[in-house]
Each structure stands twice: as structure tokens, then as C-alpha cells.
């Protein structure tokens, strides 16, 4: 191998093996095929439905006669416009509140010495795991103007004020409370990655802590704030359960409840629903585009090249105030609704003559739980839900890893398209996804329809954006050169991923798989069309109880679901603790 003069040596050229040269196009092709199957094809079905009178499955494409009547009908219908307006107000207001709460939380957790920060950080993510329908039901039990528990309490202590959560402001409050964690996720990591000396420079310049917050801190993490608020806005746009429970009694309809109505009326108007759904997607797309416009051309890279020490502000006695605020939030979003659910689940009937009736022990019993576990479907649905959850978490986790890696870590052509395709589903409401998948996949040869897998695949498609985004952030924290060093050491791409990326990204992977699991357990909209008698899942059963007008059973079943989730989450947290510790060393 020793060479004397490089120039004098004869040149030998090795041809690159064909297989390796084709690897990248094959890989990208495979991802594109998967995404086409999961996203594009169902969307096309939806689109065909929206611009024609026909059901693409029933009538076939032969009878497809395009007409814009649905769009025209939708655009011309003042009720759609009203629902649209309501949706914008409710979700806009909710987003503003979510940003306020989320920002406050990330500041408290990242930048202050508030006691029990770890606990606060963990607990503040709980709302993410509460199915919207359960949240809506719980808040209607608490905040109904006539019979709400809160109002019963107020009446009892003799205060004249009454809460009315059956209103636009009620919707905004509940939206804001439950979707603050989305904002928190983004802003907390941005704050953590910001060099604290940027803030210290402002303090030394003579600005007060408050001025610093608004002139330096928030402007600097603006991209994260924007991204978080956009995501929470879009997710709120697609939520059905909360406006169904709180908006319907006040006759406030938003786009999702409107879509649900269209599909639930007889005869159902799916083509119109598809048109409204497309409208929803267009709105979402506009917001995403606007966000990218605002951010493009502005560089927010904080200048630091060296590692910095995290800074925590010593609040002195004020830290008990921030602690109190955090507790108040947790009380509102976790404790109160849980109390409401527990009362509802154990009480035969949710009728309170006055506040004393709450403590009437005779009114409490296990009947709802008994009848739930009497129902043979309950155990089937729990079992199915676990299966679907695991399949979704594993398949979705692997796919999200593949996509996230391709987008963030390679220069492969076509990765932009993959990025786009994997973002689209965020904009489609679950109910519509269900129809789209039904239309798209029922006709496929093979036994997909009627199995657990079709549910799992629909969930994978639906939650791929959330998972890819969550994983991407943990990829970005791993320095590129760690991977390149392994290549240089003679390892191929796959083994590098296995020995370097996976161990280092483990906390992120565990977190996103947990997220997937939880989301698929609580997902209702897309299940409704795809489950069969053998594949009933908990969410469907929950809706059955809700639609059966049985708040007691609904609450009892919600509690069962919550307990199962809590146990599983406990296990994964315990599992990922080891990972977190090893990553702390990595930091």
C-alpha cells in the first residue's frame, strides 16, 4: 500500500456496484410509494368526492362527472361562513390563550428556580393525553350554566356569578387550556437552546426583567412561538369533541361539528363534507405558507459557538407564586375535570338539587363500571386498542424515523416532497380522514379492510406529521459529525443508524412512540368508518356511550381509559428514564 509519489502511480478505477448506485433512488421511491398510499391516494379520493356528486367507490370513476356545485354550495352557504367564522374565533382565541399559558410555562420551567420544576414540566403535558371528547364532557359537567358543578358550588357559597362554558368564551378557554402543551413543547426547547447571555446582556444594559422578556427573549424565540401556535391552531381546527360538547348546546357550530352534522344527517352529505374539509385544508395551508413567509429571510440563529451554561433566574420568594400559578393550571386542567369525571362515573345520575346533594353517598355506586364490564365489547375494545396502539406506535415510529432521517440528515433528491407529503395530514380533520380511507382502501385487493391494520395504518397516516416533527427536533440536537465519524470508521449507513443515531436519539424515539400510542388510543374520527365488529376500539365504544346519552358510562369508561393510559405512560417514563439519564450525560 505504500506509495512513493502519488502522481507517478498508475490509476486504478473501481466501478461503483450498481446496487449501491440505485440505493438512494430506491429508498426515496419506497418512501414516496408509502406516502402516496397513506396520504395522496386517500386525499385524491376526497378531492374527487368534493368535486363530484358520486361516491368514488360506489359509482366508480366511470361515472365521475366533475361539478363545482359542492364548492359553490359550500361557499355560498351562510351557515358554512358562520361555522368558518366561529372556528376562526374559537381557535384563534384558543391559540392566543394557549400561547400565553405555554410561554409562561416554558419560562417557569426553563428559566426560573420554581420548586418542583420537573414535576410541573411532566404534569403540564397531561392535557395532551386527554381525548377531546372527554375534556368536553368533563367541562360540560363542570361549567354548564344551569347544572354545572362549578355553578352549584357558587350557588352554595352564595356568589351571584355563574360560569357559562356553553359559549364562545367557554370554547376558547377550554381550547386554550388543553392545547397549551403544544406551544410549550416548541418554546421550551427553543428557550433551552438560547444562549442566556443574550438576556443577561439586556439586564446589564439596564432593562428590567419584564422589558427583557418582551424585547429580547420572545422576539428571539419567535419562530418557535409561531410554529407552536400554528400547530395548536391547526389541531384545534380539526378537533370535534370539545365544540361538540360545549358549542352544540349554545348552537355554536364550527367547521368540524358542521362536517359531523353533514355526515350524520340523513341523508348524509359526504360530498359536501369533503368540500368543507378541503376548505379546512386550504385554510391550514394558507397559515403554514404565511408562517414560512414571515420566517424566511430572517435569521434567528443565536450566535453562540461554544456550549453555554443553563441559567435559572432566582425568583426569591416569588418562586412560590410561579409555583402557585403552575399548580392552579394543573388544578384547572387535570384535577377539576378528573373530579367531574369521577363524580359522574360513580353517581347513578348527574342531577344535583343543590351542593349538598353532591355528598349524598346513596347516590354513588359502581353500576356504571359494572355495566361497562358486563358489556362483552369492553374487553374486546381494550384489547384491540392496545393492539392498534402498539402497531401504530411501532409502524409509525419506524416510518417517522425513516422520514425524519431522510428529511433532516440526507441530501437525497425528493426529500422536500417527502417533507411536504408527511406534513399534509395535519390539516385533515379525523372524520374526513376516516371517509377518505374508507373510500381509498376498501377496494384494495387483499384482506386489509376489516382488520386491525387498516385502523393502524389510518392512524399512522394521520399522526405522521406530529411524530416526524417530534423526532426531527431530537435529530437536530445530534451533531452531524457524530454520524460522519462512524462512516469514516468504516460503517455503512444502516449500521451507523443502529449504533449511533438510535442510541443517541432514544429519548426522542421513545417519546414519539408514546405520543403515537396515546394519540391512537384517543383517536375517534377515523376509527368510526374503519372498525368492524371484531375490531372495535375504545374510542368507538366511548362515542357509543356518549351518543347513547349516558354520561355516567361515558365518564366511567373515560376513567378506565385514563387509568390504562396512565399505567402505560408510567411504564414508558420508567423505561425512558435510563435513556434520559444517558442523554443527560451526552448533553
Amino acid at each position: 500500500m505504500t506509495a512513493t509519489s502519488a502522481a507517478a502511480l498508475p490509476v486504478t478505477t473501481d466501478a461503483v456496484p450498481v446496487a449501491r448506485r440505485l440505493a438512494v433512488p430506491l429508498w426515496i421511491g419506497a418512501l414516496l410509494v408509502i406516502l402516496t398510499f397513506l396520504v395522496i391516494y386517500p386525499l385524491l379520493m376526497l378531492f374527487f368526492g368534493a368535486i363530484s356528486d358520486s361516491n368514488p367507490v360506489i359509482d366508480g370513476f366511470g361515472k365521475f362527472n366533475p361539478s363545482l356545485t359542492h364548492f359553490m354550495a359550500v361557499l355560498g352557504n351562510e351557515n358554512v361562513r358562520l361555522a368558518f367564522f366561529n372556528a376562526l374565533v374559537a381557535c384563534g382565541g384558543g391559540t392566543v390563550l394557549a400561547v400565553v399559558i405555554g410561554l409562561a410555562f416554558s419560562w417557569i420551567v426553563v428559566r426560573t428556580n420554581t420548586p418542583f420544576k420537573g414535576f410541573i414540566a411532566g404534569a403540564s403535558m397531561i392535557p395532551l393525553f386527554v381525548p377531546p371528547l372527554v375534556a368536553g364532557v368533563a367541562w360540560s359537567i363542570l361549567g354548564s350554566p344551569k347544572t354545572g358543578l362549578l355553578n352549584t358550588v357558587l350557588k352554595w357559597i352564595g356568589v351571584d356569578f355563574r360560569f357559562d362554558f356553553y359559549s364562545m368564551s367557554g370554547l376558547i378557554l377550554v381550547f386554550g387550556f388543553y392545547y397549551a402543551p403544544y406551544v410549550y413543547m416548541f418554546t421550551a426547547s427553543a428557550l433551552r437552546n438560547m444562549d442566556p447571555s443574550l438576556e443577561e446582556a439586556s439586564e446589564v444594559s439596564g432593562a428590567s426583567a419584564f422589558t427583557t422578556l418582551f424585547t429580547v427573549t420572545f422576539p428571539l424565540i419567535a419562530p418557535a412561538i409561531l410554529a407552536g401556535s400554528l400547530l395548536s391552531f391547526v389541531v384545534m381546527l380539526g378537533i370535534y369533541g370539545i365544540p361538540a360538547a360545549l358549542g352544540a348546546p349554545a348552537n355554536i357550530s364550527v367547521l368540524t361539528t358542521y362536517i359531523f352534522k353533514l355526515t350524520a344527517w340523513s341523508p348524509p352529505l359526504y360530498n359536501t363534507a369533503a368540500a368543507v374539509a378541503i376548505l379546512l385544508m386550504v385554510v391550514t395551508a394558507i397559515f403554514v405558507w404565511a408562517q414560512q413567509r414571515v420566517l424566511s429571510g430572517r435569521s434567528f440563529a443565536t450566535v453562540a459557538g461554544k456550549a453555554f451554561r443553563p441559567r435559572s433566574l432566582n425568583l426569591g420568594p416569588w418562586r412560590w407564586l410561579t409555583f402557585g400559578l403552575a399548580l392552579a393550571y394543573l388544578f384547572i386542567v387535570v384535577v377539576l375535570p378528573t373530579i367531574a369525571l369521577v363524580i359522574a362515573a360513580f353517581r347513578r345520575f348527574l342531577f344535583f338539587k343543590d351542593f349538598d346533594a353532591v355528598f349524598d353517598t346513596k347516590a354513588y355506586s359502581w353500576v356504571h363500571f359494572n355495566s361497562i364490564f358486563d358489556n362483552p365489547l369492553t374487553m374486546i375494545s381494550i384489547w384491540n386498542t392496545m393492539k392498534v396502539g402498539v402497531i401504530t406506535a411501532v409502524v409509525g415510529g419506524v416510518l417517522a424515523f425513516a422520514i425524519g432521517y431522510t428529511i433532516n440528515r440526507t441530501q437525497a433528491p425528493g426529500r422536500k416532497i417527502i417533507d411536504l407529503l408527511s406534513t399534509i395530514p395535519v390539516a385533515i380533520p379525523g372524520l374526513v380522514v376516516g371517509v377518505a380511507y374508507l373510500w381509498a382502501w376498501i377496494g384494495l385487493p387483499g384482506g386489509l379492510y376489516g382488520t386491525i391494520w387498516i385502523l393502524a395504518l389510518a392512524f399512522v397516516a394521520r399522526f405522521i406529521p406530529d411524530t416526524v416533527k417530534a423526532l426531527s427536533t431530537s435529530f437536530m440536537q445530534i451533531h452531524r459529525e457524530l454520524e460522519e465519524a462512524a462512516w469514516i470508521c468504516g460503517r455503512g449507513l444502516l449500521s451507523t443508524i443502529a449504533t449511533i443515531m438510535v442510541p443517541l436519539a432514544r429519548p426522542g424515539i421513545v417519546a414519539s412512540m408514546t405520543l403515537l400510542f396515546v394519540l391512537s388510543v384517543r383517536e375517534l374520527g377515523s376509527s368510526l368508518f374503519l372498525y368492524t365488529s371484531d375490531t372495535t376500539v375504545m374510542a368507538v365504544l366511548l362515542l357509543d356511550y356518549y351518543e347513547g346519552g349516558n354520561v355516567g358510562k361515558t365518564a366511567a369508561f373515560s376513567l378506565v381509559q385514563t387509568v390504562i393510559l396512565a399505567v402505560l405512560l408510567g411504564i414508558t417514563t420508567w423505561l425512558s428514564r435510563g435513556a434520559a439519564e444517558s442523554s443527560a450525560r451526552a448533553g
Binding site: 443574550l198 446582556a201 439586564e203 453562540a304 459557538g305
Partner: protein, 369 residues
């Protein structure tokens, strides 16, 4: 406009571990520049941040311009924004979402005392930007600047309100050597021109020497010596200071006798050597003699400490050449300036001027990492 800084018995403990700063006392008269020098982790940054008020001292008193700003024993603690100080951070910490002008105008806008009009602010910002040579860059976003320009923005931002005291935390450590040299000279020029009091932290001795009126050498949270550069270099108080400031050669021997601050040390086969000593050595003590590579005269035979050695290796380093010379079993590095080597391998005369040889008691910690 400029104010004296007085630090007395400063102690700062993080958690339960060893104190990061452990009883440091020094003063900086108004208008003077003091540099804190020391290896990584010795507590320089912590000291500076205590002075700024960004870190709360555990014990000790800090006064700026005669006013006590921090004395935990009495519960006194003035917040950073009320100390009237300027600070240049190691990472510059210029705000990437603002233009150069906005960055520099920021302190003026948000300080309580300067309630000057916006025209006034403009004038001040312009003047300060001229001072640091960025007059034409006012409207640029800071992110489009080079590292050196950003550093000047950070400097301008801390100068614009004419604070009593300027604190600088390794502001040059991220730059390449050419830029570093230019900015360090400029920094001293600007500081002296504005007559500000300065406290500068670095671990680079050449920076310390150029910038400081006095240099304080720190180790493990303690201030070992504080003196003008010449004294630090020519009369280091102990072997750590000597070694850290570049006395790379160590000769081991035994003290033969001592007269005043002068000692004669037996180097074994090599013979005797005369050295200056700041410590009360007595005959028979193990001692080591530290001396700087550039103070050894090669090819010269002086009146004292003159030896004959052999050049073992020559290393050419661009503007200088390093010779490894052996004499009587001792091995020293010698540095000579110029781009061409002047001595060949083989026998050579060498003189170790007694004034630049310092003897210390051998405590077995001759080297620094």
C-alpha cells in the same frame, strides 16, 4: 464617569461542592484596566459575574465607585441594571433580531436615568459606532456581520451609555489569531480613550500582557498574584505563576546558599546557577529553577550562569526557532527570533541571565495543564 472597583474576600459556592471563587480580594482604581488570567475553571468568569450582579456571591463585599453593591452578610444586593456597568460577553450576545443601530441604542432606550430624546440617542449611537469603526454599518442586521464586527457591536453597546465600569469576559477567544491581535490592540485604545475602568477576563497570557495595567493570576478560585505585567513576568510570586505565564524550562537542584533574595543552586553535573527567589529557601532545600525560553542567550558567554551545551533539536516555527539544548544532564528549550536559524546542531555556548532565573521550593507541581 469611571469608578473604582473594590472586591473584598469574595466567595462563591455553587451547591455543596468546592467554592468556585474562594476569598478573592483586589481593587481596580478608576481608569485602570485589570486582567484576570488563569486556566480553565479557575473562577474568572464567576468573579466577573459576581461583580456584574449576574451571580450572587456567598460571602464578601463588592463596591463600585464607593457604593457597596453586594454584601450578602448584610443582605445588600443591587441588581445588575442598577450597577451602571457595561459588559461584553464571550459569545458577544448581540441580538440577532435587531440591526446594529438597534442593538447599540437598546441600553439608551431602556435605561432609567438616560431619558434622552430619540435625536439624542441617535447622536450617541452614531458617535459610539464611529468610535469602534462601524459608522457605516448602522443599518445592517447584525447577523450579516463578521465575528470581529459583532464583537465591536457588543463593545459599542456596552460603551454607549458610558458606564462607570466595563467588564469583559474572554471577548476575543472565538476569533482567529490575526483578528484577535488587531481587536485586542483596538480594545485597549478605545478603553484608554474613553478613560473607563475595565475588568478583563482571559486565559491567554499574551492578551493579558497587552491589555492589562495590572494582571491577576488565579488558580482554583484563589488570586495568586496581582501586579503589573512586567512584575508578573519578571518576578512571579510562585512556580504556578511562573509556569502559567510561560516559564517553560524547569531545572531541578538543591539550594547551596542564600543571600537576600539571591540564591545559589547546585544543578548536579551541570554545575551551579544563581537565581532570584521570592521564597525563604534555606540551604539543602530541594528547589527548581524556572526560566523562560526566550531569556536564554544562545552563543553568548555572559559574566554569570554561563554554560556549554549541545543543540539536540531545532524546531523551526516561522517567525522563530526553538532549540532543545542539553547541558550537564539538564535540558532546556531556547527560543530565538527571526525566520532563519542561526545555530547549528553541536556545541554551543549559553547564558542564563540570573535576573530571569527564579528558584522555588520543589512542591512537585511544576507543570500546568
Amino acid at each position: 464617569m469611571s469608578a473604582a472597583l473594590l472586591v473584598e474576600d469574595l466567595v462563591k459556592k455553587f451547591g455543596t461542592g468546592k467554592a468556585a471563587v474562594d476569598g478573592v480580594s483586589f481593587d481596580v482604581p478608576a481608569g485602570e484596566i485589570v486582567v484576570l488570567l488563569g486556566p480553565s475553571g479557575c473562577g474568572k468568569t464567576t468573579t466577573l459575574r459576581c461583580v456584574a450582579g449576574l451571580e450572587h456571591p456567598t460571602v464578601g463585599r463588592i463596591s463600585i465607585g464607593g457604593r457597596v453593591v453586594s454584601e450578602p452578610q448584610r443582605g445588600t444586593l443591587v441588581s445588575p441594571r442598577e450597577r451602571d456597568i457595561g459588559m461584553v460577553f464571550q459569545s458577544y450576545a448581540v441580538w440577532p433580531h435587531m440591526t446594529v443601530h438597534q442593538n447599540v441604542a437598546y441600553p439608551l432606550k431602556y435605561r432609567r436615568k438616560n431619558t434622552s430624546g430619540s435625536a439624542d440617542i441617535d447622536t450617541k449611537v452614531r458617535e459610539t459606532l464611529e468610535l469602534v469603526g462601524l459608522g457605516e454599518y448602522a443599518q445592517r442586521p447584525v447577523t450579516s456581520l463578521s465575528g470581529g464586527q459583532m464583537q465591536r457591536v457588543a463593545l459599542a453597546r456596552s460603551l454607549v451609555y458610558r458606564p462607570q465600569l466595563l467588564l469583559l469576559d474572554e471577548p476575543l477567544s472565538n476569533l482567529d489569531s490575526k483578528l484577535r491581535i488587531r481587536l485586542r490592540d483596538e480594545l485597549r485604545r478605545i478603553l484608554k480613550m474613553t478613560g473607563m475602568t475595565g475588568l478583563y477576563v482571559t486565559h491567554d497570557q499574551s492578551e493579558a500582557v497587552v491589555l492589562g495595567d495590572r494582571i491577576g493570576v488565579m488558580k482554583d478560585g484563589k488570586l495568586l498574584q496581582m501586579a503589573p505585567p512586567g512584575e508578573i513576568y519578571n518576578r512571579p510570586a510562585d512556580s504556578f505563576v511562573a509556569n502559567f505565564t510561560g516559564a517553560a524550562n524547569v531545572l531541578k537542584g538543591k539550594v547551596l546558599e542564600r543571600k537576600g533574595e539571591q540564591a545559589v543552586i547546585d544543578l548536579g553535573a551541570a554545575g551551579r546557577i544563581e537565581a532570584w527567589t521570592p521564597q525563604p529557601l534555606v540551604a539543602g532545600d530541594n528547589a527548581h529553577v524556572a526560566l523562560r525560553a526566550e531569556n536564554i542567550r544562545l552563543g553568548e558567554r555572559g559574566p554569570a550562569n554561563s554554560f556549554t551545551g549541545r543543540v539536540i533539536e531545532r524546531r523551526y516555527q516561522g517567525m522563530q526557532t526553538i532549540y532543545d539544548v542539553e547541558f550537564g544532564g539538564q535540558r532546556v528549550e531556547v527560543l530565538e527570533l527571526g525566520t532563519a536559524a542561526r545555530h547549528n546542531d553541536g556545541e554551543v555556548a549559553l547564558t542564563l541571565p540570573p535576573d530571569s532565573c527564579w528558584a522555588y521550593r520543589d512542591e512537585g507541581q511544576a507543570t500546568v495543564d
